[in-house]
């Protein structure tokens, strides 16, 4: 592990993943999100993937085109942007709150059904990272009152558009898949479309608001 200091003063812990990856860690989520954005914007030759997660950003290279030393040097020269979310792109997701686990969430949080819906809609969410399945976004909010455990047993089939909670995250299932999150509602919005560019409606940094479906 080595430490890298950026021009703005932020310090990052950098770990190598073989000869194709640098795993960059910071305790400051804002720094990570800015870093991921700056890495994509810098378009450093030979970088094939920039993968944000909760505490890390993974940079993957094509070792035929560059090497990790070159990328680490480029990292030192990055200037991080101020804003953490892509506020210009706020996505509104209309929800019908009739999920099978809504009553459980209402009881578990002690908020009641109306309280859960209110918190879900009032929270300013943004996409921390994607994973689990194509287009599946982990939405991070400032409202920890909606913290719920995953289901004891995961469902074999969760329909596309299911609006769900797990831990302190919210999400919407982009495609039908198995899943263990608590389902609180559904949306008709298309979240994943391979013919669209980009194919995912929710991408790291996208701001999200849930609204009542009319």
């Amino acid at each position: 592990m080595t430490e890298v200091s950026l021009p703005g003063g932020a310090t990052l812990e950098v770990r190598r993943c073989g000869d194709t990856g640098l795993l960059i860690e910071s305790g400051d989520g804002d720094v990570l999100r800015s870093l991921a954005g700056a890495l994509v914007a810098a378009a450093i030759p030979g970088i094939t993937e920039v993968v944000p997660a909760m505490r890390t950003v993974l940079v993957v290279i094509d070792p035929r085109r560059t090497n990790l030393g070159t990328v680490r040097d480029a990292l030192r020269r990055l200037t991080l942007a101020e804003k953490r979310t892509d506020q210009a792109r706020e996505v509104h997701i209309p929800v019908v709150y009739d999920g099978e686990d809504l009553d459980f969430v209402a009881t578990h949080t002690g908020l009641g059904v109306a309280g859960v819906i209110e918190r879900h809609q009032q929270t300013q969410w943004y996409v921390g990272f994607c994973g689990f399945a194509p287009g599946f976004a982990y939405l991070v909010g400032d409202n920890t009152q909606l913290e719920v455990p995953r289901r004891g047993e995961s469902r074999v089939r969760v329909p596309a558009g299911s609006v769900a909670l797990a831990g302190t995250f919210a999400s919407v299932y982009p495609r039908e898949s198995p899943g263990g999150w608590q389902l609180i509602g559904r949306t008709d919005l298309t979240l994943w479309d391979v013919s669209a560019d980009p194919p995912a409606l929710l991408r790291p940094g996208t701001a999200v608001r849930f609204t009542e479906a009319s």
Partner: protein, 291 residues
């Protein structure tokens, strides 16, 4: 009517036949694996042998057993695992261009070692792309489904000349332990001091739980220092992930973009093709190399 179509019919198959190309890198931040041919150099060689451009779609065949019939006179090539190749009772080597006349059938036997073969046809298989790739990603279901007997694949017109090459010698797949080069991983410090020693000095065995997502290995335990939980983080192809008390998983082409278990070591990029040819029951050793 327009010009003649050129096609291939699958007449028999073994455990799995998938369409693969060089994959769809660049979408990991949206939860999409790069996928693509698991043994990339073998895939590239197959295309080169029949004069196809890099990135042309091929078939990735697990444990042989494929038979396909062509409706036009052409060239094919089989690379990867050393597999008996026959056309009309005549035997061919792997890693050489094989001529096929219209109506003839190419047959792949069972490889004597290794796991995956690549079949390229002159012009390349024409398959709809998803996110700029024809690769069948078995993790997310993107790309074409596995091929079945009776499936007909269209073939594109060749663009370049057939290269003048007889056969390309490639390192063999021995039957002894496979030696893979690995570098100490990003979360090696999550394991007790003896864990790296156990990883690099003990043989592991490939279990039957081996596919394009990853290969589960049985071997000595790799105990953690404590019971902390890792928050999910991005992983690269070739990562050796070790769940608590569980079996080490070596990630291959269709690996999840993030993992929740610490990565103790990572294969060198140059060892990934050999890892993609690991066969259940085979012994594997990790050789510690510097970054």
């Amino acid at each position: 009517m327009g010009r003649q179509t050129r096609s291939v019919t699958i007449t028999a198959r073994g455990p799995q036949v998938l369409v693969q190309d060089s994959g769809r890198p660049g979408y990991a931040h949206l939860g999409v694996a790069a996928a693509g041919a698991a043994d990339a150099p073998s895939y590239s060689l197959a295309n080169r042998l029949v004069g196809n451009a890099p990135g042309t779609a091929c078939l990735e065949v697990t444990l042989g057993g494929l038979e396909l019939t062509v409706d036009h006179t052409t060239w094919v090539a089989v690379t990867g695992a050393p597999t008996p190749v026959t056309v009309g009772g005549r035997a061919f080597w792997v890693n050489q261009p094989v001529p096929l006349r219209a109506g003839q059938t190419l047959r792949l036997g069972t490889p004597s070692a290794g796991l995956r073969s690549y079949v390229a046809i002159r012009g390349g298989f024409r398959v709809d792309q998803v996110l700029e790739s024809c690769s069948a990603d078995t993790m997310s279901g993107l790309g074409p489904p596995p091929l079945e007997v009776g499936d007909v694949l269209e073939v594109d017109r060749p663009a370049g000349p057939v290269p003048s090459v007889d056969s390309v010698p490639r390192p063999g797949h021995g039957s002894g332990p496979v030696m893979l080069d690995a570098v100490v991983g990003p979360r090696a410090d999550w394991f007790v001091d003896g864990a790296l020693k156990a990883l690099f000095e003990s043989p592991f065995e490939v279990t039957s739980d081996a596919n394009r997502v990853g290969v589960r290995l049985s071997g000595p335990p790799l105990p953690r220092r404590d019971r902390r939980e890792l928050s999910s983080e991005g992983v690269v192809c070739g990562s050796l992930q070790a769940p608590p008390g569980g079996r080490v998983t070596l990630f291959l082409a269709d690996h999840p973009v993030t993992g929740g278990y610490p990565v103790i070591a990572v294969l060198r990029w140059s060892s990934i093709p050999a890892a993609a040819q690991l066969r259940p029951g085979q012994a594997v050793c990790f050789r510690r190399v510097r970054e």
